[in-house]
């Protein structure tokens, strides 16, 4: 009964188009004379009428895809995705170009353009349409390429200097060197913590499965760590490390101190353990004994059994755990800035301290992009790692 309904009108795409329509009427950006200026809003129609009508046309195109089932079935929603991509480019480029024009017109030399409600709502509409359309496609290729196309569009606009007057891009240009440093630190800390968690977590998961009496205590510890608030765990790491480094000056020379990267790495490592241990354990627990028997029956040695049967079966599940853990760690690394570690969180908390929303946004955007990229890449890797005929290549 539901299927028939679905073949007529795609409610989700249609409501995405409606949300976008609402966004068109709201202010897209705010022109500010300086960082703390309240500024005045400009809507799509205020930017330029051709721009407004092109955006409207793209939204109507999306809505049409939502209404015509035949079109959706044959093209797998590709027109909707393309229209959304067009709208995305239009939104960013339009804001950048007409924002620059407004600034020039008012002579705000140090002025800036802050995206406003309309901007974020149109982005949300694009997100709705694209997630929904991509979800319905079974092609791994399409699911991988669509997010990349969006990121690439943004990169091209950024490198081309089209969005230079956007407030958070301005914030970026005033601290370019530090941005690169903090970004590298963020990636380094997160990657280090997850790598250590994989090195320890996978064996721990195997031990928890093999030695029944250790299962409960091991999971109690790993689960318990997750319950501790992140700031509290960072705090709890400071005291013992400070003591240790006071006792042993050698360690202090190595950079191990109560505050900084060491307690951050340690806390993030502990947080990252749970998904990896749990998924390693699950991957062993769900393994069909018949498969092992079949392998043994074929005359496989213990080593062959491990590399040709057990590892291929459990790898995708373990990788899914790594994926959860890396996304979580990228987020938690933000908080590590509070205990003096490097990373993009420094911009976020600096922005909070200076009451400068643009600086906060500048810090948050790369964190979210990092988390999303890591999520996507690991999703593709773990799908690729599924043994047997590849799913979705048909």
């Amino acid at each position: 009964m539901i299927d028939r309904d679905r073949s007529v009108v795609d409610k989700v795409i249609l409501s995405g188009a409606l949300v976008g329509g609402a966004g068109l009427l709201l202010p897209v950006f705010i022109v500010k004379e300086h960082r703390l200026d309240a500024g005045f809003p400009v809507s799509f129609a205020g930017m330029s009428l051709p721009l407004f009508f092109s955006a409207l046309a793209l939204l109507i195109a999306i809505a049409v895809v939502g209404v015509l089932p035949g079109l959706r079935r044959r093209s797998r929603n590709l027109p909707a995705v393309l229209a959304a991509l067009g709208l995305f480019a239009l939104l960013w480029a339009g804001t950048g170009i007409s924002g620059a024009a407004e600034l020039a017109e008012y002579g705000f030399e140090r002025g800036r353009v802050s995206p406003s409600s309309g901007f974020w709502i149109v982005l949300l509409a694009i997100l709705i349409v694209v997630t929904h359309s991509v979800k319905q496609s079974t092609s791994v290729w399409l699911r991988g390429c669509v997010p990349l196309a969006f990121v690439a569009t943004l990169v091209v606009l950024f490198v081309g200097g089209v969005i230079d007057d956007l407030a958070f891009v301005r914030e970026y240009y005033t601290r370019e060197d530090r941005f690169v440093r903090e970004l590298t630190a963020h990636i380094g800390i997160a990657a280090g913590a997850v790598a250590a968690a994989v090195a320890v977590g996978v064996p721990t998961g195997i031990v928890a499965y093999r030695i029944r009496s250790l299962e409960r205590p091991l999971f109690a510890v790993v689960n318990g760590v997750q319950t501790i608030p992140s700031l509290a765990l960072f705090g709890l790491m400071i005291a013992p490390l400070a003591l240790i480094s006071q006792r042993f000056p050698v360690l202090r020379e190595l950079g191990i101190r109560g505050v900084g990267n060491t307690p951050a790495l340690l806390a993030l490592f502990l947080y990252a353990l749970l998904p990896i241990v749990r998924n390693t354990y699950t991957s062993l627990a769900v393994m069909d004994p018949a498969v092992i028997h079949a392998g043994t029956g074929m005359g496989m040695t213990r080593r062959q059994l491990m590399w040709q049967v057990e590892v291929p079966i459990s790898l995708p599940i373990i990788l899914a755990g790594v994926r959860v853990s890396i996304v979580q760690t990228i987020g938690n690394t933000t908080v590590a800035a509070l205990i003096g570690a490097g990373g993009l969180g420094n911009f976020v908390f600096q922005g909070l301290g200076q009451a400068a929303p643009d600086l906060i946004v500048m810090g948050v955007i790369p964190i979210v992009i990092l988390a999303l990229l890591a999520d996507r890449i690991f999703q593709l890797i773990s799908e690729w790692a599924v043994p047997g005929p590849k799913r979705g290549t048909a």
Binding site: M1, I2, D5, R6, D10, K11, V12, S15, L127, I128, T131, H132, K135, R216, P217, A220, G224, Q226, T227, I228, P229, S230, L231, A232, L233, F234, G235, L236, I238, A239, A242, G258, V259, V327, I330, G331, N332, T334, V335, L338, I339, G340, G345, V348, F349, G351, L352, A355, P357, I360, V361, G363, V364, I367, V368, A371, L372, D375
Partner: protein
């Protein structure tokens, strides 16, 4: 002793420690003096610890209650026939939103809502929604379709199917979602003090700023202890409900 008895003993000891630590100043002073003999300022003077605990729990209670009500509503709405088209979207958007770090959500709430208690509660509410929505959906989805059909066959109305079959059978999973949401909120509320919301983060941040590890530890121990206790309480509540894994098969 069985492992269950060990666990219960451990929980009682920790709860007692937490109560003494928060409410008995001399006890806290003793513990901290033992750990930090060289530190002169052991007790955070500006706000008392019990006040910080109350501020903290107030933020968590308001935001989690809101998240539970709204999250349940959304989860139920997208599993009804009329809203079913939105189910994959609700799932995708909430897993997309979960890639946002809680600290970032908090920071982004600030330009919109300003400093203090309200933006923190709003950010906690939004972030707390996601696990509730996810678990409500998977709970209802996991109810055996034959049971739902049997309920319809008995002449139950749609509303009766929801309240007498689907929700009771998925209650355990839903409570697990609320548990996750509350625990995340207790954690994120600690960061709320960076935007002036008060709570246990206040004393941790004060300790970090003044390089006073005793302050940091005071806040960290209390926040972690509360998170543990709340987690156990929810663990107990979960066991009150029907466990689909223990289904009796005939």
């Amino acid at each position: 002793m069985t492992s269950r008895a060990i666990r219960t003993t451990f929980q009682i000891v920790l709860l007692l420690f937490l109560l003494l630590f928060v409410y008995m100043l001399d006890f806290r002073l003793g513990v901290l003096r033992l750990l930090f003999p060289a530190q002169r300022e052991l007790i955070y003077q500006r706000v008392t610890l019990p006040t910080l605990v109350i501020q903290h729990m107030r933020m968590v209670a308001i935001s989690s209650a809101g998240a539970t009500v709204v999250g349940l509503f959304i989860g139920v709405a997208v599993t009804r026939p009329a809203g079913r088209d939105f189910l994959p979207l609700a799932r995708d958007l909430s897993s997309f939103a979960q890639t946002f770090p809680p600290a970032a959500v908090l920071a982004l709430a600030f330009p919109v809502l300003g400093f203090g208690f309200q933006p923190t509660v709003a950010a906690l509410f939004v972030f707390g929604l996601l696990p509730v929505i996810n678990n409500t959906i998977s709970g209802i989805e996991s109810v055996d379709s034959r049971i739902v059909e049997a309920s319809v066959g008995q002449g139950m109305t749609q509303r009766q199917v929801l309240f007498r079959t689907e929700l009771p059978l998925s209650a355990r999973v839903i409570v697990a979602g609320i548990r996750t949401s509350v625990i995340i909120n207790i954690g994120t509320a600690t960061i709320g003090s960076t935007i002036g919301a008060g709570g246990l983060g206040t004393v941790i941040i004060a300790g970090l700023v003044r390089n006073n590890t005793a302050f940091v530890l005071t806040g960290a121990i209390t926040a972690a202890g509360i998170a543990f206790v709340v987690d156990w309480v929810f663990g107990r509540i979960e066991t009150l409900f029907y466990d689909p894994r223990e289904r009796v098969t005939t």
